[in-house]
């Protein structure tokens, strides 16, 4: 194992490791454009020069393998001078777009130029004029003036998706990235191209001109749109200094996790997440029996529901009333655990079904056909994931408790109406509209994944924890909170309520009771 020194830090690394990767191990970032950990090193940007003691020439750290005894300086005067000159060349032909460029604030050219003190230009010639708004995918445009020809986009489509939808045409200063005769990039991993681009050459048309990146607070989360559970950042704008009301999630980006999704996410998740976050949300607490769409508060609503449940259990002289539940595997592990304890164990509910989104097409990369994030978690929790057959499921039931909007994918309001009209108590807990809200007595707004904490179990059995990233929408509450408040109102397991303050404390007990969740991720 070669022993080397990088910027004065001693370390031992594996045989065959490059200097750039070794430097990252000790927190040293060597500036680079063309290098990306997922691709074969290219060595074309010439930014990653380092100085090796005893070598007369500077070497590219992205493609030079460490040798035992190497003493490397990434910021020696010579290395910095070389890097500075490369940046100067790039800036000379770069448009002064920062004031209108979306990448500002997360632009590598800005960052490196700043680090290297490039403030004044010595370029006295006329800059190249190129096309600035070329559609290259359904939601991406290319700005050729900003492009630094790092070729990451071209290589992504060659080495990762193997679709080769972008190419390099012409030669020399005329060289340009291009689609094939205007054919848009079709791969549903196209969104990664905007992340990959180190500058603002590839931008997302929905994000263009919408928000400055330094007002976005990135929060870690998990994508719930399929069972892969890719790791993401949610970029949230709190509304300051803009007006309140514009607080929202602007975009999600991949978060690197080598075991799950690497540095990528698919477009379905990337664009679908924001769509789900913003659109068709159900945020109002409603009691349809009293007044159409009358609003009331949570305490009152849960008291009423708890009272009804109590009356079903304590009927004098007659058998206990029936409760039918339709769950969804969009619920977190903790929520499914709470339901199991409250309803299965304490209240002896046996009619538990699942309504999930219909499966979609998968691929041989990240996207799974299963369009819900926690079926594995539900299975490991002991549920048998029976799909709901509406007529038989709700026959003769006294209370129907539905979680999630997904029965709306299988049944229209018309179809459901006749079947459930006679059920005395109907409660819907949902984050999104399904068109069925008016059929229920109570509609309780629940949180989207970005607004709650908990854990989900992905297709491979990885238990992935996440924290709430953004505030609740409207009156919505996370399901685990609704369940705990209902438990308090009933009451059940008062002994634990004191301990269960948040999903993390629930997780601990869950791990003790259900061995699968005792595994630490």
């Amino acid at each position: 194992m070669p022993k080397i020194i990088i910027d004065g830090i001693s370390l031992e690394v594996e045989e065959g490791m490059t200097i750039l990767k070794a430097a990252e191990r000790v927190g040293v970032h060597v500036p680079r454009f063309c290098y990306h950990p997922a691709f074969v090193p290219e060595g074309s940007c010439r930014l990653c020069y380092v100085e090796i003691e005893g070598c007369s020439k500077l070497e590219l750290s992205c493609s030079t393998v460490v040798k035992d005894g190497m003493n490397i300086a990434t910021r020696s005067p010579r290395a910095v001078a070389a890097r500075r000159s490369v940046l100067e060349f790039l800036l000379a032909e770069h448009p002064l777009d920062c004031p209108i460029c979306d990448k500002a604030g997360e632009c590598k050219l800005q960052d490196y130029a700043w680090e290297h003190g490039l403030v004044e230009s010595e370029f006295r010639e006329v800059k190249e004029k190129r096309e600035k708004k070329i559609p290259i995918a359904a939601r991406l445009v290319l700005d050729r003036e900003r492009c630094v020809l790092c070729t990451r986009c071209v290589r992504f489509l060659e080495e990762i998706t193997a679709t080769r939808e972008l190419g390099l045409f012409e030669r020399g200063i005329r060289a340009e990235v291009s689609t094939y005769h205007g054919e848009l990039v079709q791969t549903h991993y196209s969104g990664n191209l905007a992340d990959l681009c180190p500058v603002g050459a590839i931008t997302d048309t929905e994000f263009r001109f919408k928000a400055r990146t330094w007002f976005l607070a990135p929060a870690e989360s998990i994508c719930p749109l399929c069972s892969r559970g890719c790791h993401i950042y949610i970029d949230y704008h709190s509304g300051f200094p803009r007006q309140p009301g514009s607080a929202k999630v602007y975009r999600i980006r991949p978060r690197v996790n080598d075991a799950v999704n690497g540095p990528w996410i698919c477009d379905m998740g990337r664009y679908g997440f924001v769509d789900r976050q913003q659109n068709n949300r159900w945020s109002k607490l409603c009691w349809n029996k009293r007044d159409p769409k009358t609003e009331l508060n949570w305490e009152k609503a849960l008291d009423l529901i708890a009272a009804r449940i109590r009356s079903l259990r304590e009927g004098e002289g007659k058998p206990p009333g029936r409760i039918t539940m339709i769950l969804t595997s969009w619920l977190t592990n903790e929520e499914l655990y709470l339901i199991k304890k409250m309803f299965q164990q304490e209240l002896n509910v046996t009619d538990i079904y699942f309504a999930d989104p219909k499966p979609g097409a998968g691929d041989d990369f990240l996207l799974r056909p299963e369009r819900s994030p926690n079926r594995r978690g539900a299975l490991e929790m002991g549920y048998d994931l029976k799909p709901v057959v509406m007529e038989t499921a709700v026959r003769d039931t006294d209370m129907l408790l539905v979680f999630g909007p997904f029965i709306g994918e299988s049944f229209t309001a018309e179809e459901m109406k006749d079947v459930i009209v006679d059920i005395p108590a109907k409660i819907l807990i949902t984050s999104h509209e399904s068109g069925l809200e008016s059929l229920f007595d109570f509609v309780l707004p629940s949180a989207f994944i970005s607004e709650k904490s908990g854990s989900l179990t992905n297709i491979d059995g990885r238990i992935q924890k996440f924290r709430a990233a953004v505030p609740q929408s409207g009156s919505a509450k996370p399901e685990w909170e609704i369940l705990l408040e209902l438990a308090k109102a009933l009451p059940v397991f008062a002994d634990r309520l004191g301990r269960w303050k948040d999903p993390f404390s629930i997780f601990e007990d869950m791990g003790k009771e259900v061995p699968f969740f005792g595994i630490r991720t």
Binding site: R164, L166, G167, F169, Y180
Partner: protein, 157 residues
């Protein structure tokens, strides 16, 4: 507009493919064969060649746009490539270039309206001992002066 390759061309392409362990390697020779027959490489040709070589059309286009000898639009019947590099210039080449431009009424890259001549400025053609020089299609002509150019142009029918 569909343009099928002639049987003879397809045969030459097959022979060429056989010389390489990977079909893609035949791309430049095959593009020359196509261009010798059709004059230029159209988008349709890109797709046809790509299919014959088991590669994607974009890979063909990447090559067509990189190399200066591949035409993306039809050239004149006589493509005049005149050298504008140093040795030819030292031998009076610039005057020949100017003469051609005036005589043909063309700027570099243009074709005469009757489709007869295309004029291109190129770098060193390797004919420096006979500077100044030019090429007409694949033939080299050197030791140029106005008279020689005149006679050459006359002879091109």
């Amino acid at each position: 507009m569909s343009r099928a390759f002639s049987l003879a061309l397809k045969q030459k392409i097959d022979e060429t493919l056989a010389r390489y362990p990977e079909k893609r390697a035949a791309l430049l020779p095959v593009l020359h064969l196509v261009q010798n027959e059709t004059g230029f490489i159209s988008a349709e040709d890109e797709r046809t060649v790509a299919a014959l070589l088991d590669i994607k059309p974009i890979m063909v286009r990447e090559v067509v746009t990189f190399y200066t000898m591949f035409n993306q639009k039809p050239p004149g019947r006589f493509h005049i490539r005149v050298c504008t590099n140093l040795s030819c210039s030292l031998a009076g080449g610039e005057k020949m270039v100017d003469y051609l431009k005036t005589r043909l009424g063309l700027q570099p890259g243009q074709t005469t309206p009757d489709g007869k001549f295309t004029l291109t400025e190129v770098e060193c053609l390797g004919g420096c001992d006979q500077a100044p020089c030019l090429m007409v299609n694949f033939d080299h002509f050197g030791n140029l002066d106005r008279d020689k150019i005149e006679r050459l142009l006359e002879s091109l029918k």
